[in-house]
Amino acid sequence: MRIARLLGIGWLFQFKQMSRSSFDSFLAICWPIFFATVAFFMFRQGGKPDALIYAGLGAAVMGIWTATSVAAGSALQRERWHGTLELLVAAPTHFSVVLLPIGLATASIGVYCMIATILWGRFVFGIDLPVDEPLSMALAIPATLLSIGALGFLIAVAFARFRYAWAIGSMTEYPIWLICGFLVPLTLLPNWVPPISWVLAPTWGMNAIRESSTGGTPLPDIAMCFALGSVYVFLGVIGTEAVLRAARAKASLSLT
């Protein structure tokens, strides 16, 4: 109960804080719209209406990853700058319970991006996205958000000791857009790429949302989102221990 409360309060606090940052909110919303606009022009030029819907759905989910990648990468650095990292680490609560809501909050900002991109596609490019399975869609979107948030948490832990983690987080933006099938079907990519895509939750989240939209079978994809999300959280918790132990041993926790 205590952990659930911490997760909830932590998420709300981080979400409110990020919502007030023009970089984490306004830019996170605009950024995928720029790329979506270019993609919409390209698919419209190609004259394939189905492909335009495919791109519309993909572009909507791109924003969730955009909001997560940079913000999660720099989550610990931000705490360092605020001077709160030591306090959080010294608190009796396990540090991963403090860190996980940051990943979830960054992914939640992605909801703004998603809505903005869908509205942009609808009103500027006339892309009417179908929702054949509303109930599945209602499950697929949170599953995607949670699993991407969990991946953000894992990134935050993995890059905790890098001073410029934001740059590494930012670097992951285009590759994930590309290999998780947001705008390009995996079948178009070289054969060695899809196995990498399969261990990334955004791939399954994207599939789940597409299947819900077109009336397919999204439940296996949703299940994969939850399964991979759980693995990320598990690895993140173990990683947190290792990172904190090393930071304490080298007295490098607050180095900026």
Binding site: C30, A39, L178, V184
Partner: protein, 261 residues
């Protein structure tokens, strides 16, 4: 002589001191790896949509990505003084403003040229795109002129950065707009007319067109008009940017807001 020293040595020192992106931990992810993946992303979107050739996207995005160093580095090279608390010392110095501010643009242009050329070469190799070696010097010229023109836009951002705080947001938004309007991924002729009007008046558009034509075998003489237009646009933006910096300097003195960050 002093002005030349400020222009070249001062410009380089300021650049090295203020651009923390030169750290390999930032430089490699953002200016080496990211442009390659941006190019690959649009190449595959292009294949999926069935439009244009791989070469079209490789050249368009390589040149367009030069805008990242042009915008971000140019802004930081000047407005970064605010954050280092050194702007007031700079502004009370008797140094000529032209050499002081424009000298910082030279390393920016060189960096942008490197980013564009490196990503162009690497992605050409990855995708097996053949660009005749004889055209490389002319393409390098098109890239240099494009980088210069975009640095002019960066100067305007630097001026704005002397007044507003969120320069990272501003630069990212401009990068996104350049992605749409310069024809890096969608030929300018495919854009609505009002967008074409803007495209023809911003940096990079003509440079990208020139680089594409050169890669397709055109001679330097064939694209001289495009390169001259790109250069002229660069001059206009540089003059506007420089004047904007001077205006912001005067205003910040008047309002005692020089160091307010």
């Amino acid at each position: 002589m002093t002005s030349l020293r400020i222009f070249f040595i001062g410009g380089l020192m300021a650049y090295r001191g203020l651009i923390n992106w030169l750290s390999p931990w930032i430089f490699i992810p953002t200016l080496v790896v990211a442009p390659i993946f941006q190019i690959l992303l649009f190449v595959f979107i292009g294949r999926s949509a069935g439009v244009e050739s791989d070469k079209f996207f490789v050249i368009g995005n390589a040149v367009q990505y030069a805008s990242i160093p042009c915008l971000f580095s140019m802004t930081n090279a000047i407005s970064g003084e605010r954050y280092q608390q050194t702007l007031a010392y700079l502004l009370v110095s008797p140094a000529g403003r032209l050499s002081l501010f424009l000298g910082r643009a030279v390393p920016v242009v060189v960096n942008a040229m490197f980013v564009a050329a490196f990503s162009l070469v690497v992605t050409s190799l990855i995708l097996g795109i053949s660009i005749p070696p004889t055209t490389w010097p002319a393409i390098a010229l098109a890239i240099a002129v494009s980088a210069f023109a975009c640095t002019g836009l960066g100067l305007i951002c630097a001026a704005i950065g002397l007044r507003v705080r969120e320069t990272a947001v501003l630069n990212n938004v401009l990068f996104g707009l350049l992605l749409i309007f310069t024809g890096a991924n969608v030929a300018v002729t495919e854009l609505p007319e009002w967008m074409q009007w803007i495209s023809n008046r911003i940096p990079l558009t003509h440079g990208i067109q020139a680089a594409r034509q050169l890669a397709d075998g055109a001679s330097l003489a064939d694209v001289s008009g495009l390169i001259a237009t790109e250069f002229a646009i660069g001059i206009v933006y540089t003059v506007v940017g420089y004047q904007a910096i001077r205006l912001m300097e005067r205003e910040s003195r008047k309002r005692a807001s020089v160091q307010v960050a």
